[in-house]
């Protein structure tokens, strides 16, 4: 059973989002997603300053099995990227909700956060996909 922290919002495409102390939205992929991908060997992140739109591609996660797009859960400008992933992509497997974060966004419209799934709904989605 994968871990689904209660305080996060989730996209149906398996990204999570949360607001940090500075008001930026931190984005990563879920425990369920990292588990399904297997050993992650490379993460391609957006560039700082880049404008990204909810639901559109914002990067690529490459594992030994597959390369999958990361979609932006909300729209905004990229303020910071997790440069540590370049040398240690396995951090995503080890700590998907902590040190394995991907990028931070300054959101355009905070109401988009309300469109994300809550932990229960996401858990349900994962279970239905597992069946």
């Amino acid at each position: 059973m994968s871990e689904v922290p209660l305080e996060l919002g989730y996209a149906a495409t398996h990204e999570w989002a949360k607001q940090d102390e500075e008001g930026l939205i931190v984005v990563g992929i879920s425990d369920h997603a990292q588990d399904a991908l297997g050993d992650i060997v490379y993460v391609e992140l957006p560039e700082v300053g880049q404008q990204i739109v909810a639901g559109e591609e914002a990067g690529v996660v490459e594992s030994v099995k597959a390369a999958s797009d990361i979609y932006a859960p909300v729209s905004g400008a990229v303020e910071e990227i997790n440069e540590g992933l370049e040398d240690s992509p396995e951090t995503v497997n080890q700590d998907p909700y902590g040190d394995g974060w991907f990028f931070k966004l300054k959101v355009t419209d905070e109401r988009e956060l309300d469109d994300l799934l809550d932990a229960d709904a996401y858990q349900e989605l994962c279970e239905s996909e597992d069946q």
Binding site: V41, Y42, E62, A66, A67
Partner: protein, 455 residues
């Protein structure tokens, strides 16, 4: 089980399973005016006997000529062992096998090939090869534009003395990708001189060494200049020349970012112009953008060395429409020959071959320039090849020399637009294979034909 992929009953079964009446229905999406019953460019075919006779007749035209043609495809000596080994059943494959890891020998060979190419070019990584030098360049340009994330211009500069055939193939491949190629004109001595900032920062700069005219470009200065403009540098190199010239990984302060070229000089017969193999090498930081296959060395569960295709997640069969390239194979057989060639010659043999080619080239060039009216079109150092300007019609001279079984060289006007000016320029290539006697015969006939045409 019959070794026929689709028997009539297979087809029926599959159509039934997906609920379609006939195969044509699967192509409904293609507008009617684009579909043709049969391509009008294809003849109805020949019998085996007719085909053999025709091919023999064509092959015979290649026989018995003394070859001074180059322009990207060279008449180097190929030790008999190269194709003796490459033609063995174990090696005789066109591509990387589909169940790659089941063919450890093939993968090891490709791994050795990659190692040799990185040594030769002084780059970090090599792929398992692409189709030829031209497709190598096109892929290198696409790769550079993808890799240079800070530059979104899609503009790629190239030095004018780039092989025009490569340029044309590259244009075909990249023209629909929003990439704009812009020419950097050469000086009257046939090389590029960089003296100003680019108007708009280019994503990449392409430089060929030796260039299409055989001339040696100032690669260190050009590499540094391109890097100072924020561009990535793509080197197009003749692998034989790397026996004596500085490898692209060492050009300028940081070396080039991508090196590519055609492997034909390494044990591949000229075969009327193909097939050969192309190579692409790069700095390790761009490895995820390199097209095609890469073989890696690993260890199995018992700690034994093993070889595997690596970085496949970027390829078409996994990444589908978002793959880095539509190239998902390599030139297996020709790479095998190239690898055997390099193994047999070694660094020393390659160097000696390159030096001998260079000496022969200088010998013929010097003597040719002593003939009346023959001028040095692009004075300065060359490798393997040079351009002379003739006082007579270059096509007539070539035709008359061919009658005497000498392929004199390539009239530049046949491949490059010279702005409507008739310059009668001839590109002449000389390899280590040409004996002094052969070169003297060339000079003799050349001189006679020149006299004949001048009167």
């Amino acid at each position: 089980m019959p070794y026929i992929p689709h028997t009539h009953s297979d087809v029926e079964l599959m159509l039934e399973a997906i609920g379609v009446d006939d195969i044509e229905a699967l192509f409904d999406e293609i507008p009617g005016d684009l579909s043709e019953e049969r391509s009008s460019a294809l003849s109805s075919g020949l019998s085996e006997l007719e085909m053999m006779l025709r091919m023999q007749e064509r092959a015979s035209r290649d026989e018995g000529n003394l070859c001074f043609l180059g322009a990207g495809c060279y008449d180097h000596h190929i030790p008999a062992a190269v194709w003796d080994i490459a033609s063995r059943g174990e090696f005789m494959t066109a591509y990387t096998p589909y169940q790659a890891e089941a063919s450890q020998g093939t993968l090891q060979l490709i791994y050795e090939y990659q190692s040799m190419m990185t040594q030769l070019t002084a780059m970090d990584v090599s792929n398992a090869s692409v189709y030829d030098g031209a497709s190598g360049l096109a892929e290198a340009i696409l790769m550079a534009v993808r890799s240079n994330k800070s530059n979104k211009s899609g503009k790629v500069l190239y030095a004018e003395a780039l092989n025009p055939v490569y340029l044309s193939a590259t244009n075909t491949i990249i023209s629909s990708q929003g990439i704009e190629l812009e020419r950097l004109p050469i000086e009257s001595n046939g090389v590029l001189v960089i003296n100003k900032k680019a108007d708009q920062a280019p994503a990449a700069v392409v430089i060929q060494q030796p260039n299409f005219f055989g001339r040696l470009e100032q690669v260190d200065e050009i590499t540094n200049w391109a890097h100072s403009q924020g561009a990535l540098v793509i080197a197009v190199v003749n692998p034989m020349s790397l026996g004596v010239l500085k490898p692209p990984g060492l050009w300028g302060d940081d070396g080039v970012d991508i090196a590519c070229g055609d492997g034909q000089p390494l044990g591949i017969p000229m075969s009327s112009g193909g097939p050969s193999f192309g190579f692409i090498c790069c700095k390790s930081k761009f490895v995820r953008q390199i097209p095609g296959r890469v073989v890696g060395k690993t260890e199995d569960l018992d700690g034994q060395p093993g070889y595997a295709l690596t970085l496949q997640a970027r390829e078409q069969h996994i990444r589908r429409g978002k793959a880095t390239s539509n190239i998902c194979t390599n030139q297996g057989l020709l790479v095998t020959a190239g690898t055997i060639y390099l193994s047999l010659l070694g660094a020393k043999g390659l160097r000696e071959t390159a030096i001998k080619s260079h000496q022969n080239t200088n010998y013929l060039r010097e003597k040719l320039l002593q003939l009346p009216g023959v001028e040095d079109e692009y004075p300065g150092p060359v490798f393997n090849e040079f351009v002379v300007r003739l006082p007579v019609d270059v096509n007539e001279l070539v035709a008359l020399m061919t009658e005497q079984n000498i392929l004199a060289g390539l009239p530049i006007e046949r491949v490059a637009d010279e702005g409507g000016v008739v310059r009668n320029k001839l590109l002449v290539a000389v390899t280590e294979k040409r004996t002094e006697q052969e070169m003297d015969r060339y000079l003799d006939v050349f001189s006679n034909v020149l006299g004949e045409l001048s009167t």
